[in-house]
Amino acid sequence: SQQGEEDPQALSIQEGENATMNCSYKTSINNLQWYRQNSGRGLVHLILIRSNEREKHSGRLRVTLDTSKKSSSLLITASRAADTASYFCATLPFYNQGGKLIFGQGTELSVKP
């Protein structure tokens, strides 16, 4: 079973609006990462946030992490049609530092021009 659960499963917005996606997980983590997937093929890494960090920015992306609630959010500001994709969170469990990243089910984002 997957540790991460994204919310919402699907999100449709207009160009220029902000998009917020949430991720919840179950066990303590070493870090949490967000990935983007176009057309159901390879994923591209967007941003990594460590368990001792609370917020991180990269361009139009803002990620927050609340370890007490075991949740993270990804905010895309001033969205563009090109942001249309599926977004996945992935966690590296703290108990398995040398091991696998566990992915959630993803949020499908549609940005309409």
């Binding site: 997957q2 991460g4 870090n31 990462q33 990935y35 159901g40 093929r41 390879g42 994923l43 591209v44 890494h45 990594l48 996945f88 992935a90 590296l92 040398g98 091991g99 696998k100 990243l101 566990i102 992915f103 959630g104 089910q105 993803g106």
Partner: protein, 115 residues
């Protein structure tokens, strides 16, 4: 190479046949992962290789699935006696797994269709 390379990009096979999927990781990356993604679903972990350590095979769904990796190079995922439920995109990823760089670099995947 410049990125993670997977072959073939598409594979159509008949139920009961064996298939081999190949992954060429980025040179120097010690960690290699295989994931499976069914249509419209998330990524399902299959197996993880890290250097010369014993692989983490905890995600392999049955004994029909196996994977090998020679050193820190090419990996092959083998599915024996394929079933229709094996139809999915099989994604390979590699990572340098250093203290400062733990992100995964993905290949474009192999779309497997079992008829």
């Amino acid at each position: 190479g410049a990125g993670v390379s997977q072959s073939p990009s598409n594979k159509v096979t008949e139920k009961g046949k064996d298939v081999e999927l190949r992954c060429d990781p980025i040179s120097g990356h010690t960690a290699l992962y295989w994931y499976r993604q069914r249509l419209g679903q998330g990524l399902e972990f299959l197996i993880y290789f890290q250097g010369n350590s014993a692989p983490d095979k905890s995600g392999l769904p049955s004994d029909r699935f196996s994977a090998e990796r020679t050193g820190e190079s090419v990996s092959t995922l083998t599915i024996q006696r394929t079933q229709q439920e094996d139809s999915a995109v099989y994604l390979c990823a590699s990572s340098p797994r250093t203290a400062t760089n733990e992100k995964l670099f993905f290949g474009s995947g192999t779309q497997l269709s079992v008829l």
